[in-house]
């Protein structure tokens, strides 16, 4: 059976500035997440074709200064961002966010 738990857990999450938030992972890694970068890879069905994985939203249409209204956890494995642009259904799993922080 594959690994059952995330490699690292979210130790702390906080707003960094008007356009980004920070996650401190339990193994000490710290990741800064710019909202516009996250929206560019939003996994929701409006932004990404579920079958082909093709992006349905033109990257250029995503504003660099997009903000959030709210960020909430989803179960024990992900978070959801309510962007000011209206998109609010994408589930960003912690594995994906951890990998983004690790680069």
């Amino acid at each position: 059976m594959r690994e059952r738990l995330p490699a690292a857990a979210v130790q702390n999450i906080k707003q960094k500035n008007n356009h980004a938030f920070t996650i401190e992972w339990s193994d000490g890694l710290v990741g800064d997440y710019r909202l516009s970068d996250l929206q560019k890879c939003c996994p929701c069905a409006n932004c990404t074709d579920e079958t082909t994985g093709k992006r349905l939203v033109d990257e250029k249409s995503i504003k660099h200064d997009v903000k959030a209204i709210r960020i909430v956890s989803v179960g024990r494995y992900a978070l959801r961002v309510q962007f000011t642009s209206g998109c609010s259904t994408g589930i960003y799993d912690f594995d994906m966010l951890y990998k983004m922080a690790r680069g």
Binding site: R4, L5, A9, R70, S73, R76
Partner: protein, 286 residues
């Protein structure tokens, strides 16, 4: 523009509950409800405040096994759970006659589960056991996303046909990062009383193999016991019956409850105090 899916919330609706535990199998007929009800009674017996959410919308059976002393009531959007031998319980069975089918489509069933999570006034509880419906679909995902699950107890019977489906349910929990507390093998054996011999009617070792394969403990092996079956059908507690058969099966569930408590405590230490339930309201920063 997509619909706004957020609702105003002041803290998680289940934040008064110390441990929310899924009792799941992925498969029907392995005894999830029987394990849930008797584990709840055992935890209650050990002095804990316990609740049961019967999330099987299409085939709720927990009410039959644990009849209520007080039916649930509703005031506005808030539902007061039923009270059954000191255990708080909510089930679709309270909203349908026993013989009536809940002929509803998945989005409605999902909405009911969301109401069970968000609108039931559980009060402070040590343990809320969620009796999962069979399968790995919409309802299971909603519960995994919204119910603040601390862990899952997997119930299986010994035969491989059962273990295959349980593996799938474990894979779902793996994907949503809900840790597996352990395996309960139900209907493990029948104790032939004249010879005191254990007869393995459904084969031997399925639960143990699964536990080893997944690297989780085998929490308990529950025998096939006519007394357990009779108590469930009659809605009698195995802890209230005064005979040696009931006493023997009650001891098995007390042992299971103690192992669950012990493993929950260990898991808490191992996983540290990572945040899994948060909400950030964006503020304008200067």
């Amino acid at each position: 523009m997509p619909l706004n899916i957020y609702q105003e919330a002041t803290g998680h609706p289940l934040s008064n509950i110390k441990h929310v535990i899924a009792v799941a199998a992925g498969k029907g007929g392995v005894g999830k409800s029987s394990v849930t009800v008797n584990l709840a009674l055992a935890l209650k017996r050990l002095g804990y405040h316990v609740g049961v959410m019967d999330a099987d919308i299409y085939g709720p059976s927990a009410r039959k096994m644990l009849p209520e002393d007080r039916i649930p009531s509703q005031k506005g959007a808030i539902i007061q759970p039923a009270l059954c031998q000191g255990i708080h319980m909510i089930s679709m069975a309270y909203f349908r006659k026993e013989h009536e089918a809940a002929a509803i489509r998945a989005p409605i069933a999902n909405g009911i589960i969301t109401q069970f999570i968000q609108n039931v006034a559980w009060g402070p509880l040590d343990y809320l056991l969620i009796d999962f419906p069979p399968g790995t679909g919409d309802i299971q995902l909603t519960l995994s996303q919204q119910a603040n699950l601390a862990g899952a107890i997997m119930v299986t019977t010994p035969q491989e046909v059962s273990v295959i489906d349980v593996r799938k349910a474990m894979h779902l929990f793996e994907q949503v990062k809900v840790p597996i507390i352990g395996i309960v093998e139900n209907m493990s054996y029948y104790r032939h009383s004249p010879t005191d011999e254990n007869i393995y009617l459904f084969g031997k070792g399925g639960g143990e193999r699964l536990a080893r394969e997944a690297g989780v403990p085998l929490l308990e092996m529950i025998p096939i016991d006519p007394c357990l079956c009779y108590s469930g059908d009659k809605g009698h507690s195995i802890f209230a019956a005064e005979n040696t058969e009931a006493d023997s099966i009650a001891k098995v569930f007390i042992a299971l409850a103690k192992r669950v408590i012990e493993h929950m405590a260990m898991m808490k230490v191992q996983s540290g105090e990572g945040q899994t339930n948060f909400e950030i309201h964006w503020k304008e920063m200067t």
